[in-house]
Symmetry: C2
Subunit: 466 residues, 2 copies
């Protein structure tokens, strides 16, 4: 019986160590069918442990069918358990692998789409979370509905009408795990094999991938400084849907004028297509109130997508879709089969946050912060680059586009920029038709301070010489 | 100028009311291209409002392109905005529609898969939530990684090794929005057109739908009281994967013996298939410690799915997948394109909850509660139905199956049962091969008290007579 070892310092319960060694011996064929195990008394005395520990290990082996007890005559290895190649050891994992995404401390990162993370009202939110966990009805802790919590949908419908001119009934809302899930649900919802999807070019690379379901062709339409070139919409095409970012084109930043909005809706009406309106950051409009939604012009034809990632917090993963009535049922069932529903308690926290006016106040406060950051970025770019730089898409949102005359942002150039301690994002990677955006970069200013902005542009100047 | 109305009692800002009326008139063609608007001074005096309000409304119309200012000569309707059929009114939604899922107060619901919602440690969790929101690094509030928070994955890997014999590195874990998302990701991950998926029969109806991707055939294999009949696994089939619930077959409740586990792994090895192990409620094993996972027998071939919906809280929507190394990269990218990642802060709360030992304590406590409820259910069934009832699958989990000799649970019968104030769930709806499970019902005992259980079975007796 020298073959059972125990290690009292390992932290693994003794019964588990004993169980595990028998299990391995049986699976590897070292102990074979019919072989008798030592009695619990015998083994306990041998290992100098309490007999209960051996009994517990044997019970586990018995429960799992490794061994069987013959009445009155001991315990034996059961039949049919030999498994070749059981070569895995029990190792306590301890790999606190440094997160490869963690940034070098001194990089100034103009990443777009990130709000000021240090200004999120974390104490207030934590307080609300505590309240909600204390107050919520028991049933809230169970499974919910695929469309999300009624409380949030009611509050959100009112909020969207007030702030965005979005016309919807709470019934039309589906709460999603961020806008990305909204997009992937819509791609599936409107997918018919052989269909076309019209997208703006440039457009985020991820959306490009999400919409490219088997059997779908993407049909890019160029954008200019006002957004989608509606005059270039393909004629005689049967598009499943047209995807647009009319409030602040991503990445170029144009705001679609009402004339093009009307043309787009007329186009969709005559083609029998839906329009998917992605309204990701329009609350931060600096020169006037946010532009009314496209959805308000034709609620039966426009599917509206919104997110709380930009006006509140990316980590919250909270977004929503507004569906025309005809798509509600299928939309809900698709959401149910994807992940049942988005976490409930966070929805209730958000509902209370909006209902008590905190979201309005947060947005009003952040708008001032972002306007100062934007102005600082524009000022710095102008100071360091004068007429070498042209700025686009700065009326709204958390990023702008800087175009440098006579420059090409090659990967070598971008690498040199990063070595100088600053990170910027080329427009070109988002372009479907290549080679037209090479002198443009996206600069997000949501999560960098004014000091960082000034210093970042100074560093950029060191690399980009005339 | 009689045609602009304002309503000071409506709660809608005045500038918005004015903006909205002009907007509608222009879109509907009531005001046409080139028509002049009243001056701001004129309209302010007419409506008896501050001139700033009119200026704000006009600025909004100007920003959206509805009107244009000709230098020095007033404001005019812009070109190309007429849109037919703008027939939607601005209605403040106020439809607190009674949730159709809300149950009649007096129904005793033996719904399966629901833990005791009133015993969730809500105060402790709320306290932890508040702490985490206060303490988390700013970066945590931004976008995370598709696989989820490193903190949770490290804690979870240790926990799973200790309690379930699951062998994994934190790198292999992907945190998902519940087990349902895990299943739908896996279905996509292992999908190849024309492939077969082997499933247990019966199996939950939803999993059936999730796995039925275009081009996939489901191949059902019957289960008996020990789970999957591995001797009936189809020979010469090239299955993409085999889906099993070995710790507690759903719904019938069998625990797969080690011999069948070995057979299953040998089968998968020779067929080149993966095994998907869904381990949804095995922590609640009442006669001995939880059975070791199938995953521990062959970590390169078994994909393990777990959830916190049964041992903690459904509303949390927190689950996970453990992938073999070869599938990690594609798994992460699929999760990213689905919803980027699961909400981060809840992951950190859960990590701390596990790390501080609260999960262990909660499970130990709940195991006692559930065992009492299970025993009460068995006692009540035996008391009221004696040998008319046979009970299956009660060793583990939050439900058992009751089989009534000589009975068929038709929909009429189920309706009568519900009218008597009790809800039970027929096994038959989960069966792929029909007509074999008609005398069996699933009875969940997780979220019903002992008093409710006794009363529920008494009511059942009133309908089911000998």
């Amino acid at each position: 019986m020298t073959w059972i070892d125990i290690d009292r310092t390992s932290g693994i319960p003794l019964y588990r160590q004993i169980y595990e060694q028998f299990r391995k011996k049986i699976l590897q064929g070292e102990m074979q069918c019919g072989e008798q195990l030592p009695s619990t008394r015998e083994l306990a005395s041998y290992l100098q442990v309490s007999r209960n520990i051996i009994v517990e290990a044997y019970e586990q082996l018995l429960a799992e069918g490794f061994i069987e007890g013959r009445h009155g005559s001991g315990t034996y290895v059961a039949e049919g358990i030999y498994l070749e190649r059981l070569d895995h050891e029990w190792v306590i994992p301890c790999n606190p692998a440094a997160d490869s995404e963690k940034e070098h401390g001194d990089i100034i990162n103009f990443r777009h789409g990130i709000p000021a993370l240090d200004l999120f009202p974390r104490r207030l939110w934590g307080q609300l979370a505590k309240q909600i966990y204390n107050d919520a009805a028991d049933a809230t802790f169970g499974y919910g509905q695929p469309e999300g919590c009624h409380e949030l949908r009611v509050v959100l419908a009112r909020y969207l009408l007030k702030t965005r001119g979005v016309i919807c009934d709470p019934e039309q809302l589906i709460i999603t795990t961020g806008a990305t899930q909204a997009l992937s649900l819509i791609a599936k919802l409107l997918h018919t094999p052989g269909s076309e999807v019209i997208v703006e070019d440039p457009i985020t690379h991820e959306i490009h991938t999400i919409f490219s379901l088997p059997g779908t062709t993407l049909q890019p339409v160029p954008v200019d400084q006002y957004g989608l070139r509606t005059d270039l919409l393909p004629i005689n095409k049967k598009a499943g849907f047209v995807y647009v970012t009319p409030s602040h084109q991503f990445p170029l930043g144009g705001v679609l004028p009402i004339q093009r909005r009307v043309q787009l809706i007329q186009y969709a009406r005559s083609a029998g297509s839906y329009i998917v309106e992605d309204d990701y950051d329009s609350e931060f409009r600096y020169e006037s109130p946010p532009i009314s939604s496209l959805q308000g012009l034709d609620p039966d034809r426009v599917i509206y997508i919104g997110t709380f990632s930009k006006n509140l917090l990316p980590a919250l993963r909270m977004g929503y879709i507004i569906l025309p009535h005809s798509l509600i049922e299928r939309g809900r069932s698709l959401k149910w089969l994807t992940d049942l529903h988005t976490p409930s308690l966070e929805q209730l926290i958000l509902a209370r946050f909006i209902d008590e006016g905190h979201l309005d106040r947060h947005i009003a406060k952040m708008k001032k912060v972002y306007r100062r950051r934007r102005d600082c970025l524009i000022r710095s770019l102008t100071q360091y680059f004068a007429d070498q730089v042209t700025i686009h898409g700065h009326s709204t949102g958390l990023h702008l586009v800087a175009e440098f005359s006579g420059l090409v942002f090659t990967s070598a150039m971008l690498q040199r920029i990063e070595q100088a301690g600053v990170k910027v994002y080329p427009v070109e990677i988002h372009a479907i038709q290549k080679d037209k955006q090479q002198n443009r970069i996206i600069m997000g200013y949501g999560n960098v301070t004014e000091e960082e902005i000034a210093e970042g542009v100074r560093r950029l100047r060191l690399v980009i010489t005339r």
